[in-house]
Symmetry: C2
Subunit: 138 residues, 2 copies
Amino acid sequence: MADSKKRSDCPISSSLEVWGDKWSLLIVRDLMFAKQCTYGDFLKSGEKIATNILASRLQTLEENGIITKSDHPGSKAKVLYQLTQKGIDLLPLMVEINLWAEKYYDLPEDRKAMLSEVKKDKEGFIKKMANDLKESIS
Amino acid sequence: MADSKKRSDCPISSSLEVWGDKWSLLIVRDLMFAKQCTYGDFLKSGEKIATNILASRLQTLEENGIITKSDHPGSKAKVLYQLTQKGIDLLPLMVEINLWAEKYYDLPEDRKAMLSEVKKDKEGFIKKMANDLKESIS
DNA sequence: CTTTGCACTTGCATAATGCAAGCAAAATTA
DNA sequence: TAATTTTGCTTGCATTATGCAAGTGCAAAG
């Protein structure tokens, strides 16, 4: 299920073994925008991930220390997922993906607006957003 | 084989549909380091990609405008693969992957050296390397 | 003119993905 | 309190992708 042995010691390869698929970074994206999500929240995202795939990705992301599960305050039926620091550290990467995609694909308006913010002061944007996320988990 | 219909208009999702797998970015990595590679060069990389997977990834990367095939000067038996501008534009993303991985995984020494360069002046590093790549395709 | 190198293809076994349905515990409603 | 709904998954099964090994066709070298 998860990766058993490393293909190589290349950092790109190691990273891809953790989140190199079509779904994992979408989960990270949702958590970056919402700060915390329930299982159901992820299912509501536009890409319509299958429930079994979602469960398996959440598990490997947790096993790899990128997200954590915790109790929902106020409901034992719900589970809260949040980014760890390791997950928050994916923010610069996510920003670059957005910037790349902006150049070659059509984006929705709200994302364009966010990116114009980013382009004004990339470092500042990342620092602020990372801080917001950090506060939400501490 | 390739992606037929978009899952959503999210740039992260669109990007993942192009290179969101365990192999595509390794091909891009090889091209960023070597500027141009033959089919055999890719096979020599440490991760030991299977020949059929390599062929299929090269095809979808080409279909998506990230790499180009061209004749090898001096041998009709060989084929040269190179990054397009769209592929070169993945450089900032690749740099961030390296920086993220550096924080959480062990890297080989030569890559560490490169990253200490990056950390001195990220923008400068990217600009210089992107320019080198650009020159090699023009 | 035979052998080797190169860029793939093909066949087949195994693994991952996707869809629909099911299920147990908690929460809500009646 | 009993019935219904919500929530977070799991299960079964069909489809697709991956991985391995062997094979093919053309170019080049000997």
